[in-house]
């Protein structure tokens, strides 16, 4: 139907403001790319596979950081996923109605605490505890590559623990929303067939499976880019090791630590290229996550 002149003006004016958001996303990608040209041109693909990071001789290989980011995020998800899903299930399916709101609020409070406070707490409170636990580990396990090296407290394991705590609220709140939206008929059908409560919950989880994977990936997106807390507890040593005891390094941490020290352009461009990769990876992960969550919600809106 024909729209009035006022409507057109309104639409275009507000639309220009909306376009800023779009331009920002494009602008971030473009600027990061433009300001990492030196490094991209010089190293090409070698940048991603090189293990040597030596600003003095101008040799930049980002593999240890990529490894550190992926490995710490993977370990964090390993810890956070069962807990986050447990929380989502407890709050949406099991808890007494009275507790539901407060528990949801409290668990989501974990997302409101600043990264720097996690870091501070990690350094001064959690590290000594983790170190004691590391010392208690049986000798037989200490000989495996996963626990080799001196128990310092700081290191990959410690980073994974902090990260997993930080990621839990993101995964659990989305998973909870998905479970809440699973049609009641799904559960009733299971109960009607004589299912136990857990079996009925499994049916609900199965129904929302894609969305729950999306929730986990949303957490992954957070873990990949997390900076301060990880920088403070991971040890900041660029090495590739499966050991949870080993001090390692992540992409975000190396940017945080070295960016202001980058004396020459190549060094700066190399760091920005790491940022560019982080940008691309997180967009990719978030995209898939949103897509999964979106398709699940679409499916739930139709009667099942």
């Amino acid at each position: 139907m024909r729209r009035s002149a006022d409507d057109r003006v309104f639409r275009i004016t507000t639309g220009m403001f909306a376009a800023i958001v779009l331009l920002l996303v494009i602008g971030i990608g473009f600027e990061l790319w433009r300001q990492s040209m030196l490094s991209i041109d010089k190293f090409g693909f070698r940048f991603w596979t090189g293990r040597v990071w030596d600003p003095v001789s101008g040799e930049f290989g980002a593999l240890p950081f990529i490894w550190g980011t992926l490995y710490s995020s993977f370990l964090a998800l390993l810890l956070s996923t069962p807990i986050a899903l447990g929380i989502a299930i407890y709050i949406s399916e099991l808890s007494p109605g009275m507790l539901r709101q407060p528990l949801a609020y409290l668990t989501e409070l974990l997302a409101a605490i600043p990264s720097i406070v996690y870091g501070l707490w990690g350094v001064f409170v959690l590290t000594p505890i983790v170190r004691k636990l590391e010392l208690l580990l049986p000798e037989s396990l200490r000989r495996t590559p996963f626990f080799s090296g001196p128990p310092l407290g700081v290191g990959m394991g410690m980073a994974a623990i902090i990260l997993s705590i930080m990621v839990i609220p993101f995964t659990s709140s989305v998973a909870r929303e998905i479970l809440k939206n699973v049609p009641i008929a799904q559960r009733e059908a299971a109960y009607a067939l004589g299912a136990t409560r857990w079996e009925a919950i499994k049916v609900a989880i199965g129904f929302g499976k894609t969305g729950i994977i999306g929730a986990i990936m949303l957490g992954l997106g957070r873990a990949l880019g997390e900076t301060m807390a990880v920088t403070m507890v991971i040890g900041n040593n660029p090495q590739i090791s499966p050991s949870l005891y080993a001090p390692q390094y992540t992409m975000a941490a190396v940017i945080a630590n070295e960016f202001t020290e980058a004396a020459d352009d190549l060094y700066l461009h190399a760091l920005i290229e790491i940022g560019l990769l982080l940008f691309i990876i997180t967009i990719f992960v978030n995209f898939i996550s949103r897509f999964f969550i979106w398709t699940t919600k679409q499916r739930m809106e139709r009667p099942a």
Partner: protein, 274 residues
Amino acid sequence: MLTAIDMERFNAALAPSAAALESMNAKISVRDFDFFYGSAKVLHGITLDIPDRQVTALIGPSGCGKSTFIRSINRMNDIIPNARAKGTISIDGRAIYSSDTDVVSLRRRVGMVFQRSNPFPKSIYDNIAYGLRIGGMRNRRELNNVVERSLIRAALWDEVKDRLNESAFALSGGQQQRLCIARALAVDPEVLLMDEPASALDPIATTKIEELIWDLKVNYTIVIVTHNMQQAARVSDRTAFFMLGRLVEYADTKTIFMNPKEKMTEDYVTGRFG
């Protein structure tokens, strides 16, 4: 069933309306009007004349198109995406769907009251003054006058005159609806559209609204959608019966209820379906 009082009103209303019919002073004329939501045709070739300063009721089972029709008269349907109109509706001889119609000024001439009262989250005063203010009126004295006059016309003045600055949400449901009527009257429309204005109200509040409609028709052309046939019989001069997007019968209210020509109308008004 019509009560004795209803009948009295009925007859009182009939005398002038019969006379008016002779000259058929049409305020709104509708010719071959179709309406579509996307590809679904919801109104089929509506043709009728709505007389000036009378109450015209639109009745029919839900989904019959009566609400769509009333919302076409002030082009409220414009805000629905993919909605499309065909044919003409003219007010005072000017086609409202022509390309030179200014929808905004059309809506100031054709006021509307909705099924659910929708006061703005503002004070009673600011609700009434809203239409004037967006029209550019700033003079406080003038605003005060219009607010008072509109509230008096909507029979709400005595109940709220001491608390004009309170939130409109503090009013009861019936008062809120009369506030919305006053708000519509404040911009001085010629036509007042009412889309089931009493359907969410209790009987006492409903009576007040009906009395108000009765009083308002001296100055305004009123079109009212109602699913309550007794209400249509009580308040209207003319009645149009819609079904499945078609206008089945349109005549004097008395004729529609006492002596309908169409079998379908008779079945509906006697409660055989609907």
